[in-house]
């Protein structure tokens, strides 16, 4: 790989890991600032129960922005979600300006007020397992998200979440 290619891969990885930290910290606007104006986000899963490739959630950048702004008006489970991710592959496009990355993802829930905080606040359990499939553009060494598909394996989602994953 060219030195340039290696730098692009690093920029992509950096953007993905930053996105995880910002999402972990519920810094929604800062997360969205890593995304292009035309950003498309979706959560999908294949269901062997109904034999259907499902879309659990989808939104563009504007929708995500209004949705996250309105979060304080909604009742919610405030147990923080913490991601553990490893970028498995980064494929840089021929133009050297776009890339597709596949990231292995595990999200743990750090129990706070979800069930009985006296018993389980502070406890962690597995919330979901999946992958990020991201498309990014790279300009001047900075990678910006064009598209994120969260591909879930988990279909037993219990209470679910109001938050982007």
């Amino acid at each position: 790989m060219s030195a340039n290619g290696a730098a692009t891969v690093e920029a992509v990885k950096d953007a993905i890991y930053r996105s995880c930290l910002l999402l972990d910290d519920e810094k929604w606007e800062e997360w969205l600032s890593l995304c292009d104006d035309g950003f498309q986000y979706s959560i999908k899963a294949f269901s062997p129960e109904i034999n259907y490739d499902m879309i659990y959630f989808s939104a563009d950048r504007n929708h995500l922005s209004t949705m996250t702004e309105q979060l304080p008006k909604h009742n919610t489970d405030h147990s923080p979600l913490k991601r553990h991710s490893v970028v498995y592959t980064v494929d840089v496009g021929e133009d050297g300006k776009t890339a597709t990355a596949v990231t292995s993802l595990v999200v743990y829930q750090n129990m706070l007020d979800g069930i009985n905080s006296h018993l389980d606040s502070g406890e962690n359990h597995l919330f979901l397992v999946g992958r990020y499939v991201d498309k990014l553009k790279v300009d001047n060494g900075r990678a910006t998200f064009l598209e994120r598909e969260v591909r879930l394996e988990t279909r037993r989602l219990d209470k679910g979440s109001h938050w982007p994953i």
């Binding site: 129960e49 109904i50 499902m54 959630f57 989808s58 209004t66 309105q70 489970d77």
Partner: protein, 416 residues
């Protein structure tokens, strides 16, 4: 009233008995087992949708009241249900959630349900068609002709759901059982074949009836920011709860103003066959199934009780089979924005019932749970729950407001 001491707190409310229930109906292990025997093994339960087994030899598995069930589609296109239990040594015959028997399995032939353990094989009608080394082991004492599966009552209906009843002699046909409450949406869901596009599940530490209660009362719209801003108008308050025989209820429609919630659009452009746009009907079936037709999206919740304090809820979303890809996409978005696992309302509903479950663990002291809002059956009237618990009391022969006593009608209890 100021905060109460224990005696005051434990005193029955100044309301007729039908206006509250004792929390032991939600937490007592003995009552829970009785419910499985006396209710869940006796009534029609929708287990899946016909679109989940679209082709001959497709199957789908589920459970009712501890019992594993398999539904198959035969080469004659008929959907049948059986206990998913091998007559030999009792293994569960099929372990996958769904699939096809067209291809052979490691232990057996194509077009057969095969028990992997000792390779007994069954056809789509549940006939036992092969016992390995039959003569050598059983001589003429047991033969495959006498080893068919346990067949179960099975009907496809009410929008193409597959309904199963563990009782061979159910008191009512599916039509008699559920036809009336479904009338309000029958044309919308029975004019054209439907298809499931959404499935996810939740296992929640709460009693199954608490989920059904939440589906049966709209007073909790206070919990949903989305519903408050899109719904609290004159038309909403003109909706009525309507009680039907067998403990079922439905809620009449009104026009939802989706555009009042920032980021949402009207659902005018897409509906169901013969169903006016932006309408919203709800059908709550005893003992815990919910069908919710809201403009472009049709949701169904099926509960599988797992304990006095644990329930699995399966959530499905359905569209019309002939949807164009664009129409389907619109339905999926509309379903998910409110009812998906990452949508606005479902998460809140589940937090609500999980909180009730936490406060009503088996062993907590009996509390009175109020179902006493009377508003001429209008939307925040709790008649749906009152109607349900009166039916429930008859099935388990217990008085909902004091489950240690035998059932009495609300009128008889009030007269005491």
């Amino acid at each position: 009233m100021p905060a109460r001491n224990r005696k005051q707190w434990m005193t029955d409310p100044q309301l007729p008995r039908g206006d509250w229930v004792d929390s032991r109906v939600y937490s007592d292990p003995e009552i829970y087992e009785e419910e499985l025997e006396k209710i869940f093994k006796k009534v029609w339960i929708p287990l899946c949708h016909e679109s989940e087994l679209p082709e001959p030899y497709d199957f789908r598995t589920a459970t009712i009241a501890h019992e594993p069930v398999i539904m198959t589609r035969g080469p004659d296109n008929a959907v049948r249900a059986f206990l998913n239990v091998c007559p030999h040594r009792g293994m569960m015959i099929e372990r996958r959630p769904s699939g096809s028997f067209l291809e052979g399995q490691p232990s057996g032939n194509p077009k057969r349900m095969t028990c992997m353990f000792h390779a007994w094989q069954f056809d789509m009608k549940g006939n036992c068609v092969y016992i390995s080394r039959e003569k050598e082991g059983y001589q003429d004492r047991i033969c495959k002709e006498g080893q068919g599966l346990r067949r179960l009552r099975c009907e496809v209906g009410m929008g193409g759901f597959v309904w199963v009843c563990l009782d061979d002699q159910p008191e009512h046909s599916l039509e008699e059982w559920a036809g009336k409450p479904f009338e309000c949406i029958r044309e919308a869901i029975d004019t054209e074949p439907l298809e499931v596009f959404h499935y996810h599940k939740a296992i929640i530490g709460t009693n199954y009836k608490l989920w059904h209660d939440t589906n049966s009362e709209f007073y909790h719209d206070y919990m949903h920011y989305h519903n408050r801003v899109t719904g609290f108008n004159d038309e909403y308050f003109a909706r009525k709860n309507i009680a039907f025989d067998h403990g079922h209820v439905n809620v009449s429609s009104f026009e939802v103003k989706y555009e009042e919630y920032e980021g949402f659009e009207s659902r005018e452009e897409l509906s169901f066959p013969k169903f006016p746009p932006n309408q919203w009907y709800m059908v709550d079936l005893f003992p815990g199934m919910n069908f919710n037709l809201r403009g472009s999206a049709f949701r169904c919740d099926i509960v599988t009780p797992l304990g006095p304090n644990e329930v699995m809820i399966e959530f499905r979303g359905l569209g019309v089979k002939s949807d164009t890809p664009e129409q389907r996409r619109t339905r999926i978005d509309h379903h998910n924005s409110i009812w998906g696992p990452f949508g606005r309302n479902l998460h809140e509903d589940l937090i609500g019932v999980a909180g009730q479950g936490t406060a009503m663990r088996p062993g907590t002291e009996p509390r009175r749970i109020l179902h006493g809002r009377h508003e001429d059956n209008y939307i925040h009237d709790e008649v749906g729950m009152r109607h349900y618990y009166d039916e429930w009391g008859k099935w388990v022969n217990r008085l909902p407001s004091d489950p240690t006593q035998a059932y009495k009608s609300p009128a008889a209890a009030a007269a005491e």
